[in-house]
């Protein structure tokens, strides 16, 4: 096994681990914001580590550049959408806690919808 292959194996494994961790967090964490936190780990670290791991395998220069561009796009998109979702969850929670009518079953906030699995 060459050095490049060992590098790939280590980083791809780490990335896969973070995807697994993100899944566990998404399924097991108690409320929306912590789940989002877990998701962001998978989004940024998981994909980032997989991309780093694949860099030695990619064809220079375009394959490599494309991978890096992909990671940049993913970080940008993942970060912005996490921000969007967090804002929505937060606003919803604020609305329900200040006596706004709880949105029945449609809202992002945990517990706001009185739903089956919601815990807050």
């Amino acid at each position: 096994m060459s050095l490049a292959d060992a590098f790939t194996a280590v980083f791809v494994s780490l990335g896969a681990f973070f995807f697994f961790a993100g899944w566990v967090g998404l399924v097991r964490f108690p409320d929306a914001l912590s789940r989002l936190h877990a998701l962001s780990k998978a989004d940024n670290l998981g994909l980032g580590l997989v991309v780093i791991g694949l860099l030695p395998q990619a064809s220079w220069p375009f394959g490599t550049l494309k991978l890096i561009a992909l990671w940049l796009v993913a970080v940008l998109v993942g970060g912005a959408s996490a921000q969007l979702l967090a804002g929505a969850i937060h606003a919803q929670a604020a609305e329900t806690s200040t006596g706004g009518e709880p949105g029945r079953g449609t809202e992002a906030a945990p517990g706001a919808n009185g739903n089956d699995k919601a815990t807050s």
Partner: protein
């Protein structure tokens, strides 16, 4: 893509197919529209991966761009605007049961047909490959789309243009000439504006890349155009731009330039070459590129306008905004 079979493990297919069916069942039976629409965007992603497994990268790209991006945008904004609809009255159990049995029967017949397909499978791989050199295209799907089945493709771009016209005609009479407003959904949050500033340049590059690479690799006008349309929709959603007025001449030109050029070159082919939509031998590649470029533009404009909806007058938009909805969220 010369190698015959993908050497990857097959046990990813079974979970994927299973997930597709579970998701489809869930979004048919779940209670709320918006949840179902969110599930549907996930479904689109899965279908794109399924197409990769079926060896059709061209279709996978189209499905990802349409099903994953634009379709989610279209349906989620519609769900936001329509609100949750009351359940429609369902017929009695016997009727539902018989309909379910009927659908099951359709499934069983189709499955039997799929499993009983003749072997070896009839195919057009060899004819396409043997004639592909004439088009100077490396991508057989592009060759089929633009040369061998060119009538289909031309009619399809005409259909897109017609769809925009029909969509516009759904607007109220007095709103004619106004801008489409389906993507006017309240003040955009800062994160959305940020994304709207940074993502479209990247999307522009990806869209043009998909169009350009489509000659020799998977990709093409539809895929590239869909990405460009998604970027335009993002700009409109982030309020960094406005959809054009429906009376705008340049927009109208953009919609029809693809089919029109296709038709004109096709007619010219009837005179210069041998038949309608036949290309003169020496000019085949440049003509194809010209048509594809115009088609990318037209597809992009038409798809973006389809997401943007019919023209509407400014002001609150029924049925969406009620009085109490005005107390806003400030994300």
């Amino acid at each position: 893509m010369p190698d015959v079979s993908l050497p990857d493990p097959h046990w990813a297919d079974l979970p994927l197919g299973f997930a597709l069916l579970v998701l489809a069942l869930w979004l048919t039976w779940t209670q709320r529209d918006r949840a179902a629409v969110i599930g549907f965007t996930g479904y689109g992603l899965l279908v794109a991966i399924a197409w990769v497994r079926l060896g059709s990268m061209d279709v996978a790209l189209t499905e990802a761009a349409l099903g994953g991006g634009l379709m989610g945008l279209l349906l989620l904004t519609a769900a936001a605007r329509l609100g949750e609809e009351t359940d429609q009255p369902a017929p009695g159990l016997p009727a539902r049961l018989s309909i379910a049995l009927l659908c099951l029967g359709v499934t069983l017949v189709l499955a039997a047909v799929v499993l009983g397909l003749p072997s070896p499978a009839p195919n057009l791989v060899a004819p396409v490959a043997s004639h592909q050199a004439v088009t100077e295209l490396g991508n057989p799907v592009a060759a089929v789309l633009i040369a061998f089945r060119a009538v289909d493709t031309m009619l399809e771009s005409v259909v897109l243009a017609l769809a925009v016209i029909v969509l516009w005609s759904f607007g109220a009479d007095r709103a004619w000439g106004a801008r489409p407003r389906a993507l006017h959904l309240g003040p955009p949050s800062p994160a959305l504006v940020f994304l709207g500033r940074l993502l479209p340049p990247a999307g522009l590059i990806v869209g043009v890349h998909l169009f350009w690479t489509g000659a020799d690799h998977p990709g093409g006008p539809f895929q590239g155009g869909a990405v460009l349309a998604a970027m335009a929709a993002l700009l409109w959603l982030a309020r960094l731009g406005e959809p054009p007025r429906v009376s705008d001449g340049l927009t109208r030109l953009g919609i029809v330039v693809g089919p029109l050029l296709f038709l004109l070159i096709g007619l010219a082919g009837a005179v210069i070459a041998d038949a309608f939509l036949d290309y003169p031998e020496a000019l085949t590649k440049p003509l194809i590129l010209l048509i594809e470029a115009a088609k990318t533009l037209s597809v992009a404009v038409a798809l973006a306008l389809l997401v943007a909806g019919p023209p509407e007058l400014p002001g609150p938009m029924p049925p969406r905004q009620s009085g109490r909805a005005a107390k806003g969220v400030t994300p």
